[in-house]
């Protein structure tokens, strides 16, 4: 009796799983920075084309690069463009290359939890570098007080929060710090994963945001949307022109406009510390990493279709989630680049 029940259950389970076989299931992994945008896009896309399921796992840009190279996912995502070494590694492993497709632009903000201080604080690049180097340890340090006249800063220790995983957001942050602080550049450098002098580690943008939320007197770096969706305080940053800018769509778009004279062929570009009065200094593109060849023609078609959708309709949905849409020139070039996928 029990045996026949068990058999029936197993049969039902197998039946149920085979019934969904006509679906096209695509798996991707990567950056947590654009995760709110991607999860919205893939949800909308699935509602539109119910037989296509794009499952995105937000594990960090490092995971995105690693897994698309190892072939354990169909596409990756990263805020940091792949380095020449990583590109070569991909080609060596797979025999063909990988393409970058910028999707949106976003802002990396210094988020903090400072009980008792409700104003939006100003941070200079040097101050941020010194905080993350461990040289500035207290909230009421003279450098911070100087940038925030009239604000009564507490004398508590700054709890630095950084990423514990390989992160494109980290790259954007450290890329900016390396540009504004020679000491940071020589001591720590810019990469997805660095030897942090001080601080706690959180996994993903989510983890850092969660950590900042839970830890009084903490300061971490997260994508703007995470700060806004969770009502986490974030500060203004002084840009190259000397203006303290609060991150927003206009600032990010201005940064892109200021930094890019010519869109590079492979779309790999850094727009941190961009010139221009209105530029937000810690802005970035974020990329989908798509292999040049796909064995499964159905998957290839699904991905190229999605990319086309992303560059047209998708771009109209970015502002609702506080991500900046791509510059027109880039969209045109990307649309042409889709043809490279076989």
């Amino acid at each position: 009796m029990t045996r026949s029940i068990i058999r029936a259950v197993i049969a039902a389970a197998l039946l149920a799983s085979s019934a969904l076989a006509q679906q096209i299931l695509i798996n991707g992994t990567g950056a947590t920075f654009p995760y709110p945008m991607y999860s919205k896009w893939f949800d909308v896309y699935h509602k539109k084309y119910s037989n296509i399921q794009i499952n995105y796992n937000s594990l960090g840009s490092g995971a995105g690069v690693q897994q698309v190279t190892a072939g354990t996912v169909d596409f990756g995502a990263s805020d940091m463009p792949m380095t020449d070494d990583e590109l070569k590694g991909f080609r060596d492993k797979n025999g063909y290359g990988v393409l970058h497709f910028p999707t949106v632009m976003g802002a990396n903000v210094p988020a903090y939890k400072l009980p008792g201080v409700s104003q939006q604080l100003n941070f200079t690049g040097e101050a941020l570098a010194d905080i993350f180097l461990g040289k500035i340890t207290k909230w009421n340090d003279p450098a911070l007080a100087k940038a925030n006249p009239g604000v009564s800063l507490p004398s508590t220790n700054i709890v630095v929060v950084h990423r514990s995983d390989g992160s494109g957001t980290t790259f954007v942050w450290t890329d900016y710090l390396a540009k504004v602080s020679p000491e940071w550049k020589t001591k720590v450098g810019a990469a997805k994963s660095v030897n942090w002098p001080v601080g706690l580690g959180g996994k993903g943008n989510e983890g850092v945001a969660g950590q900042v939320q839970n830890t009084p007197n903490s300061l971490g770096y997260i994508e703007l949307t995470y700060a806004m969706q969770n009502k986490i305080q974030y500060g203004k940053v002084k840009n190259a022109a000397g203006v303290f800018i609060s991150a927003d769509l206009a600032g990010v778009t201005a940064a892109a406009a200021g930094a890019i004279k010519e869109v590079p062929e492979d779309f790999r570009v850094s727009i941190t510390n961009a010139p221009g009065k209105a530029s937000y200094p810690i802005s970035t593109f974020t990329y989908l990493l798509v292999p040049e060849k796909f064995k499964d023609p159905a998957k290839k078609k699904a991905i190229t279709d999605f990319l086309k959708w992303m560059l047209t309709e998708g771009q109209t949905q970015t502002e609702a989630l506080v991500y900046a849409p791509l510059p027109k020139a880039m969209v045109t070039k990307e649309t042409k680049a889709i043809a490279k996928i076989q």
């Binding site: 690693q66 990583e86 994963s193 580690g201 959180g202 830890t215």
Partner: protein
């Protein structure tokens, strides 16, 4: 198939009986082979496990050799990988967990075995053994949402009491080796209590009676006679608890701060072997990085084997002793 008893002992069986007996014997052989195969699968799987761990950590083993165990840098960008911060964090958090869990656990075991009325004793033990079944991620969640804020409130009293020692210096962020140690202690206490209670109960009553007859107080009889008698089993339970806490992943990674630095202060964030594997495995770019993480897995594996082995010897020693 009905048992035909009439063919119990044929000297020269007839044709039909012979095939029947052959079928019986075939059944026996089949059962033997089938079960032997199944049992051997365990040996096969474990062997493959060790082999795969060893093979896939080859790159880092050749690159770093034994220095892997003593290097303190963990720098994926520069390609420098050293296991020491994680070994340190694993050992320190587990040691702290034991420091808290042993007195509490053995004390509770003594109470439950010697003092509590039988119904309360078995009732509470039932509850405690249930607690051993709580998944690690739930302890992690509870640790993150309840224990860490609670410890943050306790920071000042702790600093006041122990701030003179290097163990409680430096800033406290909530997530720290202290929090990890406390959460781990909660997870391993049920093991210590449950096993210690059993071995204490197994101590023959005449030992207690003899002590009491000689005029010992209840406590003296327990502490000076019964507990030493059960010493091996209690120590075994401690080793088992240690082995369990060394491998704990989720509860630790959610409260330890995930920082690969060695610090004498318990207030500082730390990292454990299991936690770093969980955090960085999916993103280890490059063979050296992945191989280093797998080598860390090998180190953890070796550690837990040694501790478990010691535990088994100790616990087995007691169950063969007094009657059960």
């Amino acid at each position: 198939m009905s048992a035909t008893t009439s063919t119990a002992s044929p000297a020269r069986p007839s044709g039909r009986a012979q095939t029947f007996q052959q079928r019986l014997r075939a059944g026996d052989d089949l059962a033997y082979l089938l079960t032997l195969l199944a049992a051997s699968t365990i040996v096969l799987i474990t062997g493959m496990l060790v082999l795969k761990l060893y093979q896939n950590s080859a790159v880092s083993r050749h690159e770093f050799g034994w220095k892997f165990l003593t290097t303190t840098t963990w720098d994926p960008v520069a390609g420098q990988f050293g296991a020491l911060p994680f070994i340190y964090g694993t050992v320190v958090t587990s040691a702290l967990a034991l420091l808290i869990a042993i007195p509490l656990g053995v004390g509770a075991a003594i109470f439950l075995a010697e003092l509590a009325p039988p119904r309360i004793s078995s009732g509470l033990t039932f509850l405690i053994e249930l607690l051993a079944a709580v998944p690690s991620v739930i302890f992690g969640m509870l640790g993150f949402f309840i224990m860490v804020p609670a410890l943050q409130k306790l920071e000042d009293p702790l600093r006041a009491a122990f701030g003179w020692s290097p163990l409680f210096k430096g800033p406290f962020y909530g997530v720290s080796m202290l929090s990890a140690g406390v959460v781990l202690s909660l997870m391993i206490i049920p093991f210590i209590i449950s096993i210690s209670r059993e071995v204490i109960l197994a101590v023959p009553n005449d030992q207690r009676e003899a002590a009491l007859a000689l005029g010992a107080t209840r406590w003296e009889s327990t502490w000076d006679i019964v507990v030493p008698f059960a010493y091996k089993g209690i120590t075994g339970s401690i080793f088992l608890a240690l082995a369990r806490s060394l491998g704990e992943t989720m509860a630790v990674t959610m409260v330890v701060g995930n920082s690969p630095k060695i610090s004498t202060s318990l207030f500082a964030p730390g990292y454990s072997i299991a936690a770093v594997i969980a955090n960085e495995f999916t993103e280890a770019t490059g063979d050296l990085y992945l191989s280093s993480l797998i080598e860390l897995g090998l180190v953890l594996f070796a550690l837990t084997i040694v501790i478990n082995g010691a535990a088994r010897i100790l616990v087995a020693g007691t169950s063969q002793k007094g009657g059960s």
